[in-house]
């Protein structure tokens, strides 16, 4: 490639990647701020609000994303890639900004959660249409020998979007008190407002780009599809490849991706009980170290093929998930921590009235510090009843609950290394997959055909990791790692199907 071509493709990659990263950022901040959003818009005790909350969380990811893949995939194959993924970007950015402007439930009642649900569904729809467009657009500009490398830049966006979302939320939160952050018009709204600036810049860049050369050629020759949905899913030769892409690659990629990026953070926070800052900075460091590997594995896939890199990522996940997550539990085991030398670094007690009566809860918080730099907090709760003679009757302190564990430096970096490994598997399955999907479908129905399996694999199979995890934990409570059997099982199924049925040959000619 000459210098002008390299510059041209760099612009294409930058325009596509920045927009896709912003879409992921928009989608993630809602999930990361779910607790605050719930307090502001979905108050407890209101059945309608609870139903709307469930729909906002589950329907946006599971139903609307694949539906968005169909709607915008079809549009992208009919009118072109450029304007379709420009539209998804505007829809995503606009709805994110508007979520940040909705008054709380206290101010406008049930209209607040209804508006949030509506805008969240638009977000899911837009996300369903964005990825296929960006991946197709870059792939159709890339030379055959570097398709894996160039599309891998698009693959970094899902992780970088998480990085930016985590970073901005942390930056805002660390610069104000919890009360200021969680107030009705408080800091939690800033990440939503920031989105409009990011989207504005990205729309400006994308507007200056040209349509994909392969699609333009098809359009000039009058060979674009008349009915992309019918050609994608009702023509057997194409439909069987949609099924193979889903069950032999994307399904496993989805669970590996979700487990590495989201389940791990949730596990560190809710099972290992790490404090807010460490549970997030561990992920931030791991993402920062692992992100270049998306590009490395994309590049490698141009040389040795896509199939075995993706399947190796799944195999490593299957083999090492349980030992890695078990280490998280063992290294934060409070019984072991208590055997170390430790001192009380702080202590305070507060009283909380029970239902406005004289009785109260006495809540004692004790902070401990270990010699190795680790720290943790224990909370003792005692119900105190005031009898007729105004004497206090204690029911006895409860078993202490631990929280806000702070790791020693050595264990902290060990955890960064382990989460890095989890994300490294993500880079193996995710780095080459855009090129893989682009190459198995023809240009005229590519956007539609690749978007649906991608969003079923990631949105449905990946998105269900926490729910199925909870289901398994509830059914088999004695094993704290039982939730991992879902991603392990799906990845194993996908590994078998991929090994037996997928081809490792790279399709040089995608302009068909």
């Amino acid at each position: 490639m000459d210098n002008s071509s390299v510059k041209g493709i760099s612009k294409v990659i930058a325009a596509s990647s920045v927009g896709t990263m912003i879409e992921w950022y928009d989608f993630y901040i809602f999930g990361m701020l779910a607790k605050t959003i719930s307090i502001q818009f979905f108050p407890e005790g209101n059945a309608t609000a609870a139903l709307l909350s469930t729909l906002a969380i589950f329907a946006a990811g599971f139903i609307v994303r694949p539906f968005g893949a169909l709607v915008f995939g079809r549009l992208g194959d009919l009118i072109g890639r450029k304007y379709t993924f420009l539209l998804t970007l505007v829809l995503m950015g606009g709805s994110t900004f508007l979520i940040g402007l909705i008054p709380s439930y206290k101010a406008i009642g049930i209209a607040a959660p209804l508006l949030v649900l509506l805008l969240r569904l638009v977000q899911g729809l837009a996300l369903g249409g964005e990825y296929g467009g960006a991946a197709t657009y870059v792939a159709e500009h890339a030379p055959a020998s570097r398709r894996g490398y160039y599309t891998s830049w698009i693959q970094t966006t899902a992780t970088l979007g998480l990085f930016v979302a985590l970073g901005i939320i942390m930056l805002v939160k660390l610069n104000m008190t919890d009360e200021q952050f969680n107030a009705e018009w408080g800091g939690w709204r800033y990440p939503f407002w920031i989105s409009i600036l990011l989207v504005g810049v990205s729309v400006y860049i994308r507007l200056r780009m040209k349509e994909s050369p392969m699609f333009s050629k098809l359009k000039k020759e009058g060979k674009t599809s008349v009915n992309p949905l019918k050609e994608s899913f009702r023509r057997k030769s194409n439909f069987k490849m949609v099924l193979l892409a889903l069950f032999g690659a994307v399904m496993g990629q989805g669970v590996i991706w979700y487990t590495g990026q989201f389940y791990a953070q949730n596990f560190l926070e809710t099972k290992a009980l790490l404090d807010f800052e460490q549970s997030r900075t561990i992920l931030l460091w791991a993402i920062a170290f692992a992100t270049p590997f998306f590009v490395l594995f994309g590049w490698l896939s141009d040389r040795i093929g896509r199939k075995w890199i993706m399947l190796l990522g799944m195999l490593l996940g299957i083999i090492t998930y349980r030992p890695i997550f078990n280490t998280f539990l063992e290294d934060t085991n409070i019984i072991e921590w208590k055997k170390e030398n430790h001192t009380v670094s702080g202590e305070h007690t507060k009283q909380q009235r029970i239902n406005g009566k004289k009785d109260f809860l006495s809540i004692k918080t004790v902070n401990y510090k270990l010699d190795n730099g680790a720290a943790y907090t224990e909370v003792f709760t005692d119900s105190v009843f005031v009898n007729g003679n105004e004497t206090l009757v204690h029911t006895g302190k409860s078993q202490p609950a631990q929280k806000d564990k702070h790791l020693s430096s050595a264990i902290y970096w060990k955890f960064v290394g382990l989460v890095f490994l989890l994300i490294l598997y993500v880079t193996m399955v995710y780095g080459p997959i855009a090129a893989f999907l682009v190459e198995i479908f023809p240009t005229k129905i590519r956007y539609t055909s690749m978007s649906l399996p991608y969003h079923i694999g990631n949105g449905v199979f990946g998105g269900l990791v926490p729910f199925i995890g909870l289901l398994l934990t509830t059914t088999y409570p004695s094993d704290p790692l039982v939730g991992l059997w879902y991603p392990i099982g799906i990845a194993a199924l996908c590994l078998i199907i991929g090994t037996v049925y997928l081809s490792n040959k790279i399709d040089e000619q995608v302009g068909d």
Partner: protein, 86 residues
């Protein structure tokens, strides 16, 4: 390899209805209007069963195609698909 593809096809064909059965049993066992966890919530189960049923049917169709030999030769080029081959 071709016979392995076909034999496994039967497994995928049967796995589809098995997944639907497992989900419906899970829903029946866990839905509880008095419960507060996500897994007690009927709306979530309805969404999941509604979205997973077509996927499970897709898995069975995949198995049927594999059993019938549709994947004996996997297309290595999208040109094959646009020409309607294989």
């Amino acid at each position: 390899m071709i016979s392995i593809k076909k034999i496994l096809g039967i497994v995928w064909l049967l796995l589809g209805p098995a997944v639907i059965y497992i989900l419906v049993s899970g829903a029946v066992a866990n839905i509880d209007p008095a419960g507060k966890k996500d897994i007690n919530n009927p709306v979530i189960w309805i969404i999941i069963i509604a979205i997973f049923t077509p996927i499970a049917i897709g898995l069975s169709i995949f198995g049927w195609y594999a059993f019938k030999g549709e994947y004996d030769r996997v297309p290595t080029s999208s040109l094959d698909l646009s020409n309607g081959k294989s």
